[in-house]
Point group: C2
Chain length 512, copies 2
């Protein structure tokens, strides 16, 4: 295999004298601890450090060094193991998402999400195409995090082939700091050239401006430590500065948007979008509904049993106008399901743990195991609906969200999850009628608040946001279903029919 | 099998006319929704509803009814399935703890933690003694929750044997609301007398003042629904009242305790406790330490590998005075461990999700799978240390905590987890010396805050709390190890030696 030039500089066996290291050490340590405290106080972004490299090049030593120096309350080390069944039964990046550090804290990842990708390919379990796809998905994953403000520092610790061999000879018998091949969930293949060539491919494919790789010569302890610490110090310092600037710009952008709203409180609804085309003419009488309801319940009950057996995961996201009947539709749908088989996740204001993460984190968190059905009462689309309309999020963040959401849903699809998305559509008059009815009924009064009336005033602005969402996030694997919901009975049966058909198709696909 | 009298009243086949149910229905619904909102606004206690019963008696219908009526944002249904590997590799109640509703919300449990216990016994997989033990542990589990303010409502829906048979005949062919035997993770044995006799045993053993069972005749829909809703309404109303009173009393108790402190700011340290007996005379020179350290690292590395292979879980809890060297000891210990095999959990102020649960919840949350080592830097003992000394918790709550902690640790032991508890002890002068040293060193300055100096003033009060903790929570399976830590080297080697011996013993026990 041709010698890859990527590692050339890191194979020179660079050294640093004890004296030279001592001269910078305490200052580095002070600055790092200080940066960590400031990051904590800013509390606005997480720091993700990926440490990987050739065996013997100092990954474990670097981990220990950082853990020794930093305030342990705000740093946590992660090393992914062979996936458990709970992990295998969820999309690939589920465990990575779950483990992400909260804003203001540091996550230190041994091999990060690279160990699994590189090992599978090195062992011949994945084709070059699958490996390339895996790397591309890692890039998208990291991009979502850095776009959201995360700092990602990726360091590859290197040794030349000769250095690697010497190191192996020297340390192999050391019971503590020997090679510890047995520890590794992602053991490196015996062949140094093959392994480093694959690693180089991985590094090149994921070396981005937002999340760059640094390659460090691991031969000499002093040199390596000084390098790792300096890279981290510089990255944290630069990131803090950039974050403060971005954060200021975001606040300005929100102020501007609010001002623009005030000048133009009621934008015209576009007549060309999907919402304008909704046909409210179809209705369903009580008897027809009762009959249709019963047969569909039986069918969906049967299908969920088969989906459970086949290990098919289903996610159903409900969005719609206030009082459009999301809750009622969910209850009708779940009525016939086995309670052991589904979960309803209502989305309202995030908790502080959720707020301290990427906005998609709390949806990843709720993904169920294979065979289960998860129903979201409101969903990740809040980012481009309420957060946009209420100016909770700066424009560049919610415009970016369309791609992020499509990527998220592509990960669900890659796992084989069936995703259904419903927009329950009612018209303005029907909403008013329902609001008034709720106010009249004692046990429904909790359903209606001042917020709901306030939201009504933003109807047209929301309309524009919904139309754009439908246009930009309807994909072949996860199209939006716009349901005319002025007639509740018609809407509920429609939802049943779409869900039944989708389950049938997905189950057929499984058997083939 | 003798007819059990427990169910007699619920086998009469009681009914309620449509008119009579309609007359109370809307008022019940209004009150329940109103109680739910008030519970939410009080935000101070969770509501746990366990629904169980004879098949066909209306468990599913009751679940649907409550889910239909209540605000779905604050109620979640749980039904435990056959344990996953992640669940099996953790203590029995882990998944129950994880699922607990936050304060202000409702958890609705199908069969709760009873399904597993009753089924295992009904199928002959557990002896009467094991079944009785399981029930006793459920009682302790529920007691911990109710003591903490939770409302637990347990309802058993019943049918007479004749009613059960009739119901089976009538519904068996209904594809939606038939018996759905295949849904059940905890399928009921065919024999009605046997199953109800075992259920009766379970109910009797866990019918406590704090978490009583209600038995409801499930024959008639109207009667059953009215009963279930009334039981819940009455329980929620009574609980709210009791909680408001308790909460007032707790605030008063804290005020009283602070007043008493101010009158008597420096209690005498007891000369009779464990701390007074600590011998600080032993020290370890640098060379001896270096040598001892190296051999022990090798040994612990070897033992963690064996523990991993044997599936032995280890938890090491570190407590001690500020600056006693907890962090340093943890780092020395983990230095030689495989990063894939351990996790350090530093305990500081809880997040809002953690605050909304029982104080032990966040420790349950961090329990690792079998074979892993979890090191807690501070632990659940904060309840009887800082929370006591700082009057963050009322006296009756922290005095109760000794038993709760012992019960928690007994659950760890029952799972086979090895638990080590270290109190790192330094004297007052040594602490002062270390504080001053930290202030002098730039990169250690973050370790010392005004809080630390303030804590020092409460030294004697903490001493009393530590002594009482050591006396009341040293158990045969989880004794406290008080480590003289004025000499850091001596302390670290001592900790190594205790951990090594404990691992060796535990591993020997596994093989036997």
């Amino acid at each position: 295999m041709a010698k890859t030039s990527l590692f050339k500089r890191a194979e020179a066996g660079q050294t640093l004298s004890d004296g030279a290291f001592r001269a910078v050490r305490d200052q580095l340590r002070f600055e790092l601890v200080d940066l960590q405290q400031r990051c904590r106080l800013n509390g606005a972004y997480p720091v993700i450090i990926v440490l990987s490299g050739v065996q013997g090049a100092g990954v474990v030593d670097s981990t220990n060094l950082l853990n020794t120096w930093m305030d342990p309350r705000w740093i946590r080390t992660h090393a992914f193991d062979t996936p458990s069944d709970e992990e295998r039964e969820r999309p690939l990046f589920w465990r990575a998402w779950r483990s992400l550090p909260a804003a203001g804290t540091i996550g230190l990842y041994l091999d990060g999400w690279y160990g699994e990708a590189v090992t599978a390919h090195a062992r011949g379990r994945t084709s070059p195409a699958v490996f390339a796809d895996h790397l591309a998905r890692i890039k998208i994953f990291e991009r979502a995090l850095t776009d959201d403000g995360a700092l990602i520092v990726k360091i590859w610790l290197h040794l030349s082939q000769k250095g690697h061999r010497q190191c192996a000879d020297a340390h192999h018998d050391d019971p503590v700091f020997g090679f510890r091949a047995s520890d590794d969930s992602w053991p490196q293949p015996a062949s140094y050239p093959k392994f480093t060539a694959i690693a180089a491919k991985g590094i090149k494919a994921t070396d981005t401006t937002e999340a760059p790789w640094s390659i460090v010569d691991g031969t000499d302890d002093n040199h390596r430590r000084a390098q790792v610490l300096t890279i981290l110090r510089d990255a944290m310092a630069a990131h803090e500065k950039a974050w403060l600037a971005k954060s200021k710009a975001a606040k300005k952008s929100i102020k501007r948007a609010i001002k623009a709203d005030n000048k133009n409180p009621l934008p015209k609804k576009k007549k060309i979008g999907a919402l304008a085309k909704v046909d409210f003419s179809k209705t369903l009488g009580d008897d027809a509904y009762a009959k249709a309801f019963h047969t569909r319940q039986a069918r969906i009950y049967d299908l969920q049993k088969k989906a459970r057996a086949a290990g098919l995961s289903t996610i159903i996201a409900f969005e719609g106008w206030d009082a459009a009947g999301k809750g009622g539709a969910i209850r009708r749908l779940t009525y016939a399901l086995s309670a052991r088989n589904y979960k309803v996740v209502p989305i309202s204001a995030p908790s502080d743990e959720e707020r301290a993460h990427h906005y998609l984190w709390r949806f990843w968190r709720h993904l169920s195991r294979d065979g289960h059905i998860t129903l979201f009462d409101r969903s990740w689309y809040g980012r481009v609906l309420v957060e946009r309309v209420e100016h909770l999020t700066a424009e560049n963040a919610w415009t970016r969200a369309y791609d992020e959401i499509n990527a998220f849903e592509a990960e669900l699809a890659a796992h084989g999850t069936l995703l259904l998305k419903f927009w329950l559509h009612i018209d303005n008059d029907e909403q008013l009628r329902r609001f008034k009815e709720r106010e009249k009924t004692a046990y429904k009064r909790w359903k209606i608040t001042d917020d709901d009336w306030r939201n009504r005033e933003k109807w047209n602005r929301s309309w524009v946001a919904v139309d754009e969402m439908l246009a930009r996030t309807s994909t072949p694997t996860a199209p939006w279903h716009v349901i005319p919901a002025n007639d509740k009975s018609f809407a509920r049966i429609k939802i049943f029919d779409i869900a039944i058909k989708a389950l049938e198709t997905a189950l057929k696909g499984r058997k083939a």
